[in-house]
Amino acid sequence: MEIVLAIGIGVLTSSGVWLILRPRTFQVILGLSLLSYAVNLFIYAMGRLKVDAPPIVGTGGVDPALYDDPLPQALVLTAIVISFAMTALLLVVLLASRGITGTDHVDGDDGE
């Protein structure tokens, strides 16, 4: 399972990095979205991968090894919300830029 997740994060990250280096605004936004997916998976993996384990620890002398780490899940939730909001904001700026400059180049002109 680790290797699958690692490859997944790697593919998302490399595609994302390639896309944010492209000259079109839409590609940049897609790249940032892909990167944020990769980062979210990465945060999740930092709580160690575990299957079929509840994230809530009961009272008394329990073995923490039987439980999943709840904190990264909370962190991922926050990170998802924030990156979603940022993407929405960036889309609005993209539209404004497209409307005002008449091109979707990130620098506002095609350099022709």
């Binding site: 980062v39 945060i43 993996a45 990264p72 926050t78 993407t87 990130v106």
Partner: protein
């Protein structure tokens, strides 16, 4: 210690949040009400910051620990969210509220009508800044970074126009990518240490060893990258001068504080977590800060000489000041750090005042600040240049006032005697010279760069000042409003105050620099002795 003053710690976050949200509910026509609420909130924030500084100083100078932790919802520290008030955060709160209030007053003259929802965004920006300075754990630092960034994106776009939208597109993309770096760094650190609370991290990090060490170090390095992009270190800070030049003046003045958030994060995380006496964490990454900072000063020096417009000059002086601060953190502790903190306060206020002055001085030259066409339906179009309802006070000898204000700013930023910029640089250089038995070559280089950058700033500002103020112009004299002149004057008066009251201010800075490396004190305040509010059930 009365309980109410403990609850005051959370006020710098709650107040602007509530007031900003309330302003959103008001209709656009209730402009004066919105403006009144915003200014009232900013003024209250200033009072709160003053009380908090007084509290830290009172406790600290009378021998008690100056650091206080405030546990939100009374959850105990490593698990719950904790706000920490200490010397540095109180100082930064004070600085934020001064700049916030003055730029807000400045904005009432003209700029707050150049776009919708300015007051709310401005208050949210203040909330993000205050939160970033107060928070005691890494993830909440990220959250508050995002709050202040989201507000800053919208504020940068305030006034609209082609230049701003272009700059904002770059600024947002860079900052979103940086936030992802921040998350990777924080997650890596969590993966190794199992905590994100800074006090807890300070306890655990020295004990990390073996194969985890390399992972933790890379996490720290990635986190550092995120901070340094925000601080504008070369070669990560190319975005800074252009972005800030595109922002409207009151926003740019507040942004002068924004780039200091990165420096604050470096100060906090580096000195608390990576500055132990023993183990791998002893001065990890010191040379990166030192050489990176020096390269930043050099880059800023070249930049400030190369550019011609005042707003770019202000942008590059921000780069220089960030570089000076980072290099001073890397170069050594003690007196150098105290001088650097003094420099932080003085240069932030001076650059803020400079950004506000630029538009006043530039007004007869440029029409470039005119707002562009509206993008959305509910947006105001254009900048209300001639507002009949506004009482315009034509101050006599406008150019004389502007000219002397400009000269003051230039002297402050360049660091010439007798103003506070000089005192700060003098303390830093004095500290560098007395670091060890012999002065290291890097210290000499840094001293040379600090002095050289001051000279370059002086040359650049003088050249621009002669062009703008002394050159004959057939255009009419710009009318100056009290609401525009007063904030600039206030900022300059505060800088003068720093100069006159240099001794007590320096004492505060020295205690701040000592407290920054004091892991035990910080850890005790956050983890050991739970501050109010105490849970009233049980026991």
């Amino acid at each position: 210690m009365t309980p109410w003053i403990d609850h005051l710690i959370v006020a710098p976050i709650l107040l602007p949040l509530i007031a900003g949200a309330a302003i959103l509910l008001l209709k656009d026509r209730r402009h004066l009400v919105r403006r009144g609420i915003a200014i009232g909130t900013a003024a209250t924030l200033l009072v709160v910051a003053g009380l908090l500084v007084a509290r830290v100083a009172d406790a600290g100078f009378s021998g008690q620990p100056g650091t206080t932790a405030y546990q939100l919802g009374s959850w105990p520290a490593p698990f719950g969210i904790v706000l920490v008030l200490d010397w540095l955060s109180a100082l930064m709160l004070m600085l934020t509220s001064i700049l916030g209030l003055t730029s807000l007053i400045y904005a009432t003259a003209r700029w707050d009508r150049a776009g919708p929802r300015f007051h709310s965004l401005f208050l949210f920006q203040l909330m993000g800044l205050n939160g970033a300075f107060l928070t005691g754990d890494l993830f909440n630092l990220f959250v508050f970074f995002e709050v202040l960034l989201a507000a800053s994106f919208a504020l940068l776009l305030h006034g609209s126009g082609k230049a701003r939208i272009k700059a904002a597109l770059h600024y947002i993309s860079i900052n979103v990518a940086t936030s992802l770096l921040f998350l990777i760094g924080a997650a890596t650190i969590y993966g190794v240490t199992g905590t994100l609370n800074m006090a807890d991290l300070a306890v655990r990090i020295p004990a990390i060893g073996g194969s985890d060490l390399a992972i933790l170090q890379s996490g720290m390095a990635i986190l550092g990258m995120a901070f340094l992009v925000k601080a504008g270190m070369w070669p990560l800070g190319f975005w800074l001068p252009r972005t800030y030049a595109a922002a409207s003046p009151p926003v740019a003045a507040l942004f002068a504080m924004l780039s200091k958030v990165g420096v604050y994060a470096v100060l906090r995380v580096y000195l608390l977590l990576l500055n132990g006496e023993v183990g791998w964490s002893a001065n990890f990454g010191e040379e990166w800060l030192l050489f990176g900072g020096m390269a930043t000063i050099a880059f800023g020096t070249v930049g400030v000489l190369a550019v011609r417009t005042l707003s770019r000059i202000a942008g590059y002086s921000l780069v220089i000041s960030a570089g000076t601060l980072l290099a001073a953190v890397g170069a050594g502790q003690g007196a150098v750090l105290a001088g650097a903190l003094f420099y932080l306060v003085s240069s932030t206020l001076a650059v803020g005042a400079f950004y506000l002055l630029i538009e006043l001085v530039d007004r007869r030259e440029a029409s470039s600040d005119a707002a562009g066409a509206p993008v959305f339906d509910d947006e105001f179009s254009g900048l209300p240049d001639q507002v009949e309802t506004e009482v315009r006070v034509a101050i006599p000898a406008t150019m004389a006032i502007l000219g002397s204000g400009f000269a003051f700013c230039a002297l402050l930023i360049a660091g010439l005697p007798p103003l506070s910029g000089f005192i700060a640089k003098f303390v830093m250089i004095d500290g560098l010279l007395s670091l060890g038995e012999t002065v290291a070559p890097t210290s000499w280089l840094l001293i040379g760069l600090i002095i050289g950058s001051g000279l370059a700033t002086l040359v650049a500002t003088t050249r621009a000042g002669i062009d703008l103020i002394w050159a004959p112009s057939d255009k009419p004299q710009p009318a100056l409003r009290v609401a525009e002149a007063a904030p600039v004057a206030l900022l300059l008066v505060i800088c003068m105050g720093l100069m006159v009251l240099a001794a007590p201010t320096m004492r505060y800075m020295e205690r701040t620099s000592q407290s920054l490396g004091d892991r035990q004190g910080y850890g005790r305040a956050v983890l050991g002795n739970p501050a109010r509010p105490q849970p009233d059930t049980g026991r």
